[in-house]
């Protein structure tokens, strides 16, 4: 009875998922093993994939293996190439997985692991994977059209413009916040700075090798690059042990921020083959390798979760970022649960590679589940640290002071314990002078990963190398994102500018290239600089803005998806996209409103501005603000941030209203439901 047997297996997996979640939720005051989180996640993914994604593949799109995909019909050997599904899967996964799913869960660990694991798993099954899959199917049925094009054609020109502006907005905030993560990871760390600095000449050497020495031998060059990366790791350690050299490379946050801006400017105007492409190969390779290694390390060591399931900081007083668990956990973890950015990938390269429609389920829904699993691993790595160490690393100096003793005192007041000597020992062990207030998520993730890796491989002596390896791995792909993002921003800006004054749009006209690149760098650089100099740590204001902008893009994607489903005459299945859309709208609106208007000065931009105004009026500056000019700049930053949040909220409303109008018109019959899909054509019987 194979059918009954299969039903039994699925019932068992479902029971396992529920049991594991129950175990996680009911663990009060005891330490549970990471195995429970892994079981809850993996079993839920299996059930969601088997049953929920089938609604989309079978009922909504009726995916048909005999229907020719754009790759088959439009095969040009370049953009449209029918590709094996495992290769597309790997390619799509490498494109969607980045620092996002690693940093968000690390920050949200301040609430404990329970809110994080629930949102990551439920959010991906009902939200993120649905979005990626629906957009992928929609694009595949429309010759690989982009999200922006579909928004314009399905909803209307207003939605199209909103999508365009949302992409530019999210890009600016994303680049700033990722820049801040790198700055905080490298601040006062000669080892990290030297190693990351060396990745630039390594990538250039690879570029030169590929251009002139052995053209086209990408794997050979990447292999050599990887060897050079390991050498750079050891060289960084050596530098950090030479007092004079170490002092030279011990840089402040502001110096690093300016260096990163200058670097990104040059990187984005240099030829792609010289720096960006080789480093992209390197970082894609390292990314996939590290994610596999992390999964292996976690499965082998199954670390205990030292963080409580729920901490007291769900009340909004958290030091890592301010705000209650609702709505802030849901915007802090974007990638991993649902990320609007993925809609760009699902309507970008991937739909043009799909060999068969039947592959879309595994690639659209499946790779998002895998990204979610990466987020679960990041959450495990963060919660495997003791809460004392986690908060000492992730809380800004304004919350824990600048010495191990003051940090221990503050952390004791929060109900956790931290031995100041332990903090000193840990810093020494990883080859840093201090690990206090290394905000941004990367250092604590690196610490968690170093513990897991060294537990599985290498023992105590290897902790320092693993720590810096993890920092290097994150910084490597953040830098790649920075210059790729700046370059894309530049093209978008030139495209927009070209509509006003044609010569500005010419991509090879240097004055336009330089001005638009500089403009993009200055835009995100302004936010980055503001974050670096913010006494509250920068992450507190920038990460929520990034979360809101990313969820705004997801709102656009889900509106497009819902519109397409309704126009297909499948309105009864539109709940699949409307459910996450409703939830995201609530999250975005509440979070945006609180970031602007909350009376708590740590949350609300306006009340924070007023509190600084009061300080200026009183004439006595606190130690964290150096001068009156700084105080005034903080006020204008607050107004700017409030304006950005308001802009994202208004955009959300605009896109929703435009979509509602379209849905109403179609459902009420005043507008004909016409599918804009490319008509069916069968796959040629014999391939070539």
């Amino acid at each position: 009875m194979p059918k009954l047997f299969r039903a039994g297996i699925w019932a068992l997996i479902t029971v396992l998922a529920v049991a594991a979640f129950a175990r996680i939720a009911l663990s009060r005051g005891e330490t549970i093993s990471a195995a429970w989180l892994l079981t809850a996640a993996v079993c839920s993914y299996a059930v969601a994939y088997r049953f929920y994604s089938k609604i989309i593949s079978a009922k909504i799109f009726a995916l048909d293996a005999t229907r020719a995909t754009p790759a088959v019909r439009l095969d040009d050997g370049r953009d449209f190439v029918p590709t094996n599904k495992w290769i597309v899967f790997g390619h799509h996964f490498a494109a969607i997985a980045g620092p996002g799913p690693l940093v968000g869960p690390t920050l949200a660990a301040q609430f404990g692991y329970l809110p994080g694991i629930i949102w990551i798993v439920v959010g991906v099954a009902l939200g993120g994977a649905v979005q990626d899959f629906v957009i992928l199917c929609s694009s595949v049925r429309r010759d690989g059209k982009s999200l922006g094009q579909m928004a314009r054609e399905e909803i209307g020109p207003v939605a199209g413009i909103t999508a365009l502006v949302a992409v530019l907005g999210i890009m600016i905030v994303l680049l700033a916040v990722l820049g801040l993560v790198v700055v905080n990871a490298l601040k006062s760390s000669p080892w990290g700075t030297v190693t990351i600095g060396l990745t630039i000449p390594i990538a250039i050497a690879m570029g030169v090798y590929l251009k002139w020495i052995r053209p086209g031998r990408v794997l050979e060059a990447t292999g050599l690059g990887l060897v050079a990366l390991v050498l750079a790791l050891y060289f960084g350690q050596w530098v950090s042990q030479q007092p004079t050299l170490a002092a030279m490379f011990t840089l402040s946050g502001t110096t690093l921020a300016i260096s990163i801006m200058v670097y990104s400017f040059f990187a984005s105007v240099m030829p792609v083959w010289l720096l960006l492409a080789p480093r992209d190969y390197l970082s894609a390779f390292v990314k996939i390798a590290v994610i596999f290694a992390l999964a292996l390390g976690i499965i082998v060591t199954l670390p205990p979760m030292h963080m409580p399931a729920v901490t007291r900081f769900v009340d909004g007083t958290g030091p890592v970022f301010a705000g209650k668990v609702f709505p802030f956990a849901f915007i802090t973890i974007a990638c991993g649960a649902i990320s609007g950015f993925h809609a760009l990938v699902s309507s970008g390269t991937t739909p043009k590679l799909l060999m068969s429609e039947a592959d879309a389920r595994m690639i659209g829904y499946g790779s998002m589940l895998m990204e979610s699993f990466v987020a679960v691993m990041a959450l495990i790595a963060a919660c495997a640290l003791t809460p004392g160490v986690y908060f000492a690393v992730n809380a800004p100096a304004s919350a824990i002071g600048t010495t191990a003793a003051s940090a221990a005192e503050a952390i004791r007041n929060w109900g956790f314990t931290l031995d100041p000597a332990e903090m000193q020992r840990l810093a020494q062990q990883v080859g840093e002078t201090s690990l206090l207030s290394r905000t941004g998520g990367a250092p604590s993730l690196a610490l968690g990963m170093a513990q897991i890796f060294s537990g599985a491989l290498g023992g105590q002596e290897a902790v320092a190398l693993w720590y810096h390896f993890a920092i290097m791995f994150e910084a490597l792909f953040i830098l790649t994102t920075l210059d790729a993002g700046t370059r894309i921003g530049r093209f978008m800006l030139q495209d927009l500018g070209g509509k006003i004054w044609a010569p500005f749009g010419r991509v090879s006209w240097y004055p336009a290239v330089l001005t638009s690149s500089a403009a993009i760098v200055l835009m995100w650089g302004y936010f980055l600089y503001q974050g670096v100099t913010d006494p509250l740590g920068g992450i507190n204001s920038l990460w929520p803005l990034f979360g809101i902008s990313n969820q705004l893009l997801a709102t656009v994607a889900l509106c497009v998806g819902t519109t397409i489903i309704i126009k297909m005459g499948k309105a009864k299945y539109a709940f699949t996209t409307m459910l996450p859309l409703a939830w995201l709208t609530i999250i975005c609106m509440v979070a945006g409103w609180e970031k602007i208007f909350s009376p708590d000065v740590k949350i609300g931009f306006l009340s924070h501005a007023h509190s600084i105004q009061d300080i200026i009026a009183s004439g006595v500056l606190p130690a964290s603000i150096a001068s009156m000019a700084d105080a005034k700049r903080m006020i204008s930053n607050d107004y700017l941030d409030a304006g950005v949040a308001a802009f994202f909220m208004i955009s959300t409303v605009v896109i929703l209203v435009a979509s509602f109008a379209e849905w109403y018109a179609v459902l009420s019959g005043s507008k004909l439901a016409v599918s804009s899909e490319v008509p069916y054509s069968a796959i040629p019987a014999t391939g070539d």
Partner: protein, 69 residues
């Protein structure tokens, strides 16, 4: 099977694995393009490997959609 055959088999498999890895990390595939041109457009002279790579990379990094955060 002779040693030579075994060696050939290993080499062949390594080459295939290399091909997969290259495409996963997003290297433009010149050979596929040339094969495509030969079979569908025999009259077109294929660009050189360098021209092809340059054009592919410029396209890839000029619009959003090839990567995420």
């Amino acid at each position: 099977m002779t040693t030579r055959d075994a060696f050939e088999a290993v080499r062949h498999n390594l080459e295939r694995a290399g091909c997969v890895v290259r495409r996963v990390i997003g290297v433009p595939d010149y050979d596929i393009y040339v094969t495509h041109l030969r079979s569908r457009h025999p009259d077109v002279v294929p660009p050189s490997r360098e021209e092809f790579t340059q054009e592919r990379q410029a396209t890839k990094y000029s619009k959003p959609g090839s990567r995420c955060c």
